[in-house]
Symmetry: C2
Subunit: 310 residues, 2 copies
């Protein structure tokens, strides 16, 4: 058995790109493509359809349409790691196959998340069915561990089984559990074998790089992309810890508010397009007072989003 | 304002109809229609696409196809209360509108269940958007409270707001929280106003009827329909408590196993069609040993499923 070539794998910092909505709550492909291009200009890859993208408030058709528009808009599909894990096996297969057809560099896959307390046997079978049905050797699958939201964890045992069955396909994990000990355990168990561990926020970026990780996929990469990417690129430099501290300050401000509405409020404010603040139910936009408190704190830190305002 | 006519509302016992799959895991419309007709023959209504239907493992397209086939198969659409609440607003609207086009007697609606800790404001807006977009005065909406699975509760305050805004549409609730105190609080707050409270299992059927409830929507109505329907129809009779005790014994046997695979194993065994045992991932079918333990216990109680075997 030959060792697979891993040199073309996605690394670094990715943003779960926030999804813009029109007044009627339909997705706005034009603003979405523009946002993707801006993020790429900041050296950040595109984990579109993540939790922070409100992806699970979008239908499969809406996601396919947005993906088509992004690629038609000239975005390099190799920089895309769309979220394609749905509750229904058939939706996950359809969306993953479509991402592969477009040449996506990888897919980030939630486990089916409605039924709780399911077994690793059932989850293994779920991922395996998607892999087999998509049937594309180019597929690079990143499993998505986010128990605070999905309530369905990805255990180390499950990863081990998936790696054994599909060593060329199962490429890594995003760990959004918020528990560094778990990320560390994944690094220790699998990183040396070429399995790419992405921290679920830049809070753990430096620790993750030092532990042999691949980068991070973080909500706040939507708003602070260049600084987070810089730490990834220079994590061995003398000022790495100072960079991490600075990232934590900005992250800490956003964390005082409901995250997704706060990200969108910042994009709206610093990009000068108020329509960005719109969220789909069940989320609720920040109040005027919350928006003001957020931007006052950010301004106090000299925070900007360079190049966003067109 | 006139009082709406509520005489045609769905009452009694409904089954979250288990969904049959073929060997390739696609839904089997023929067996599904047959099962619906058998349940109706047992005096049980059709809450198709419930939790126990593995509905959240089906795509919206698959649900629409099954609904079309059931109505084309001669089932009275007035006996249907399909689950139409999805994570994505657009899916919930599409499925609910389709159910109304077919003349469904009601719809049972989960809140969007991916994002956790969402506010009643956000949930109100979510249900309101579906109601407004479907825009059908015939719509009878039952909210679905199942916090052990959805992790997103339907509070009494949310029901109150929905009833105030849409008194003719918001028709009732299914309470699958497993906490009788909560069901009782819903009855006390809303039943006198014509809001129909369905217990989430027959365990609380007699208590629910005595408290002014409308019936129950229960997993085990898939396997023990006639006996549960009989208690609903005769709850004022002298033997009602004895009936309840007897129902609890059968329910208790199923509750020793993973519920959905156990229901399907029983349908497969007592109906003589082994293909019924198939579940979609992430669920896992009962093992041979579990199946044997289940049917041995049921046989010991003289359990049968009359008329199921064709």
């Amino acid at each position: 058995m030959s060792t697979p070539d891993r040199s073309d794998r996605i690394k670094g910092v990715l943003s779960p790109v926030v999804t813009p909505f029109k007044a009627d709550l339909s997705p706005d492909p034009e603003r979405f493509v523009k946002q993707c291009r801006w993020l790429l200009s900041q050296d950040v890859g595109l984990a579109v359809f993540g939790t922070n993208s409100e992806a699970n408030s979008l239908s499969t058709e809406e996601k396919i349409e947005l993906l088509d528009r992004v690629v038609a808009g000239g975005v390099d599909p190799g920089r895309l790691m769309p979220g394609t894990g749905c509750c229904a096996l058939t939706d996950s297969v359809r969306l993953t196959a479509h991402a592969m057809k477009l040449g996506a560099g990888g897919v980030l896959m939630l486990p089916p998340f409605y039924y709780k307390g399911v077994s690793d046997d059932g989850l293994f079978r779920s991922f395996a069915e998607v892999i087999e049905r998509v049937g594309d050797r180019r597929l690079r699958l990143y499993v998505y561990h986010i128990p605070p939201v999905s309530q369905v964890p990805i255990t180390l045992g499950l990863i081990e089984r998936l790696l054994r069955a599909y060593p060329d396909v199962v490429a890594g994990v995003k760990d959004s559990g918020g528990d560094w000990k778990n990320t560390k355990a994944m690094l220790d168990a699998f990183a040396a074998g070429g399995f790419d561990v992405f921290a679920g926020s830049e809070t753990f970026l430096l620790a993750n790089m030092r532990g042999g990780g691949a980068g991070c996929i973080s909500a706040t990469a939507n708003v602070n992309p260049a600084a987070i990417a810089r730490l990834h690129d220079t994590w061995k430099s003398a000022d790495a810890d100072a960079q991490q501290t600075r990232l934590d300050v900005i992250r800490g401000i956003f964390a005082k508010f409901p995250m997704i509405p706060a990200l969108k409020a910042a994009v709206a404010h610093y990009g000068g397009e108020s329509s960005w603040a719109t969220v789909r139910p069940p989320l609720v936009a920040l109040t005027r007072e919350q928006r003001s408190a957020l931007t006052t704190e950010l301004d106090g830190q000299g925070f900007t989003m360079p190049g966003l305002r067109s």
